[in-house]
């Protein structure tokens, strides 16, 4: 396997781990925030470095130079390939933007060290192709969230119940796959993946999480879609086509259901949660179609939704930071107080539904084409879900930013760090929308490679079903 020129993957995990230890010892919140921003920035640079390095190799997969983990565990634990190469910078960027947009008034309630721990776990999960590594890291990712809910004195029961099911299904499923019971193991792994993504009716943990946890950490727990990654790594290589397409139909139902639920929400966070749920289900639809065009659409929408809805969530969080929890049952009239945030709210919302000229446009078209190609009538539900989401987004925009002008005693306009975050995301959303070719071709290539590997994995003997991609040495 090709080697990167530097140990970028290990660096991008190590930096937030060391950072978490340092930040955990800092008593002054303001210093902790600045330190966290610096650490997130270094992590982002590492992940971008890894992406550029990997792109220059022109290979499907690569691993670190001086791979310490391989030497320790005799396994290539962290591997970069065309699937996860852009996901790592995306995750690191989201972490940076979340910290950057944390207002000073909220920084006492935001656990920066836990966020860095979560970032390290997230990046290591997205770098990992080793099956048990993914299982363990997915389990570990739950802990910071559980501790945060517990520390806030809120009930952890809903989260524990669902995540307990998730962990149990994950462990048992992987054991069964290792024992050669691919069908039952695969079914349990699929169940785990769907539960983590929030498939109906097992999605209630997500609304509960958004209600009880800090918005920033909840956003980072779901926005990079580690559940979809889990499905791609553990389920796609072993599941037959009919099983994948059944999952796609379930995801489609979830997408429409969540779109409808987003329309009737009266609380900002729940609204965002359902909107996200609808979009993440659409991503799963694309991923599970197992056709080049559908998979390309799914991978593109994964990135575009990751960018757009995270920006949307960050904007909602900025509004919350100024006015408290957003009640969508009334008009808030905030436009004149925060015009930049209003424009960004609309831009990110529309980008998430694939509005023309934004990063999600071509991806959504591909996704719809893929879905309609496989299911001529059922696939049109993707269009319905997109329409419902579009209506819900403008409705939320009107509720928050229009109405009798909000009279504030102090200036509510966006601060410099927020403006930087907005500008950065806007550039990516519009830039990706106007010049989509490179991104689409890269995702198309990745989709073809994944399908080729899946094909070779399925035609191999049952024992090999478990070996790819869990043991990358059997790869190309």
């Amino acid at each position: 396997m090709n080697e990167l020129h530097l140990p970028w993957l290990e660096l991008s995990v190590l930096v937030p781990v060391v950072g978490a230890i340092i930040v955990g010892r800092v008593r002054q919140v303001n210093v902790a925030r600045l330190l966290t921003i610096a650490i997130c920035l270094i992590t982002l640079i590492s992940t971008i470095g890894e992406w550029i390095d990997f792109a220059n190799l022109n290979s499907f997969e690569a691993h670190d130079h001086w791979d310490l983990l391989e030497w320790l565990f005799d396994h290539e634990v962290f591997v970069i390939d065309e699937l996860n190469a852009p996901l790592l910078p995306l995750a690191a960027l989201l972490c940076l933007l979340t910290v950057l947009s944390t207002l000073r008034t909220k920084q006492t309630r935001f656990a920066f060290h836990w966020m860095l721990v979560s970032e390290a776990i997230l990046l290591s999960t997205l770098s990992c192709r080793f099956a048990w590594g993914i299982v363990l890291l997915s389990t570990a990712a739950i802990l910071p969230m559980w501790f945060e809910i517990h520390e806030r004195g809120r009930s952890t029961q809903v989260f524990s119940f669902h995540m307990g099911l998730f962990v149990a299904a994950l462990f048992v499923g992987q054991c069964l796959v290792d024992l050669g019971w691919v069908f039952f193991g695969g079914a349990l792994l699929t169940f785990a993946g769907l539960l983590r993504t929030g498939i109906v009716p097992l999605h209630c943990w997500m609304t509960d999480l958004f209600e009880k946890c800090s918005f920033g950490n909840a956003l980072l727990f779901v926005a990079p879609m580690p559940g979809a990654y889990l499905v791609m790594r553990l389920v796609l290589p072993i599941a037959p086509d009919w099983a994948l397409r059944s999952i796609a139909v379930i995801s489609l139902i979830t997408a429409v259901y969540a779109g409808g639920m987003a329309l009737v929400q009266t609380e900002g966070r729940r609204f965002f949660c359902y909107l996200f749920l609808s979009h993440s289900s659409l991503v799963l639809v694309g991923l599970e179609l197992a056709t080049p065009i559908g998979l390309t659409g799914g991978l593109c929408v994964w990135l575009s939704v990751g960018l757009a809805l995270s920006g949307f969530g960050i904007t909602l969080r900025c509004v919350e930071g100024r006015t408290g929890r957003v009640d969508l049952g009334k008009y808030h009239g905030l436009y004149d107080n925060m015009p930049t945030l209003a424009a960004f709210f609309l831009l990110t919302g529309l980008a998430s539904i694939g509005f023309p000229g934004t990063v999600g446009f071509i991806g959504t078209e591909l996704l719809i084409e893929g879905a309609v190609g496989v299911y001529p009538l059922v696939g049109m539900a993707v269009v319905v879900a997109a329409a419902l989401n579009g209506i819900a987004i403008l409705q939320a925009y009107f509720k928050i930013f229009t109405g009798v002008r909000h009279e504030a005693t102090f200036c509510l306009r966006s601060r410099l760090p927020e403006k930087i975050a907005v500008l950065l995301l806007t550039t990516l959303i519009i830039g990706g929308g106007l010049f989509p070719e490179w991104g689409i071709l890269s995702r198309y290539h990745a989709a073809n490679e994944l399908l080729r590997h899946r094909g070779s994995s399925l035609t191999a003997s049952p024992t090999h079903h478990t070996s790819f991609p869990n043991q990358p040495k059997h790869g190309n």
């Binding site: 009737v264 049952g329 015009p339 424009a343 078209e365 579009g390 403008l394 806007t426």
Partner: protein, 462 residues
Amino acid sequence: MLETAFHWLGLAVVTSPLVLLVSLGLASLFGCLLQEKTIARLTQFSIVSGLAASLAILVLMLQSGVRNVPIEIGNWVSLPDEGFHFHLKFVFDRLSVPFTMLSFILCGTVGAFTNNYLHRERGYNRFFMLYAIFLVGMVVSSLAGTIETLFFGWELVGLSSALLVAYFHDRRNPVQNGQHVWVVYRIADAAFLIAALALHHLTGAGDFDKLVGTGAWPEGHASIEASHALYVGLLLLIAAAGKSALLPFSGWLPRAMEGPTPSSAIFYGALSVHLGAYLLLRVSALLEASMVLSGLVIAVGLVSAIFGALTARVQTDIKSALVFASLTQVGIIVAEIGFGLRYIALIHIIGHACLRTLQLLRAPTLLHDYNGFENAIGSHLSVSPIRRSRWTSPQFQNGVYAIAIYQAFLDEVLKTFVARPFLRIFQWCDRAERRWTSFLSRDEHPIVKDEPTHPGSLEEFV
């Protein structure tokens, strides 16, 4: 030489409104508010350069006798192995050139008018930002050579229209009406998107010349079967009905009048209301391929025209009367398209849009003058008495009056039979979910609300 001239002029037509949009967008993004004078000059520059370039193209076309000038920008995205192309192409022909010029002229008039009308208004910048999006949308839709490009412009027009209706942020009515417009547009857009996909599957590309044959408009002939033409045509008819406020989607048209008078009213009364008819004209070869489809287009057009004529007569405010009169004309235009009278429909669109713009611009001052007259003569101006027909019974007349005054109860029907049940199902699901999470949390104070918690939701909008 001629081709190069066409190419550069064509690019100038498309980029001139884009320059306005990018300038205003970047200024807003970086938080530097442009002065009114600067915005007015940018708008003038954009309109004049775009109009001049399209005029030059028209002159060159007339001189050279060329009837169809495609401007290829290339593939925006192409996956050849999958047969997926997003082809950026603009076409200057007998349909698009007049429509583009019409868009520039009317938008220019509106821009000049609004520059004074909204002078020192808080939302001046916002209006012109939306105006720029609208202009780009209109120009791109008019010149689109592929169905995807047309969809691109179509969406921009839809978004800017909805936000323009909700321009007066402080009041609830405009905002709710903006949402109503958006809901209808989303339904129309969904139909359009599915139609575009279906066309891709049927013809292998989204180019209009693949769909309607290689002949320059209006001489193309559809290359697909009648049944396919009917299926795709029906979806496009829904899209056109949504955009042009044809029945059963006409409820949004009077609501759109909540926008700033008269500028946004002109958009809906004279410009974007014709976009649906334009779409049908563009794909008119499809209508020829299916008699059933043509019949449906005629029926929708005529019913909308009759409905518009009846409703316009009972309106008590001038803007509503004018937009329903617009609907009547648009209905007739659609019926003309259904009958295959393409040139007549195009001329009708141009004439009607210009006339309606003048009427809508004149409307506020007309009322002012009317009051001035009455004050001068010291009494009300004489009103012609209502003549009742001898051929119909009073009950029938009252029934027709009720239908006209309540706009055929269209909004009520949609609200009662579509929006409300739909929302109730999801509200019930929401309550069930809250109960379930409360049960799991053993929450002593569950946040379960038995009553619907969303009075200002879609029910109000549809």
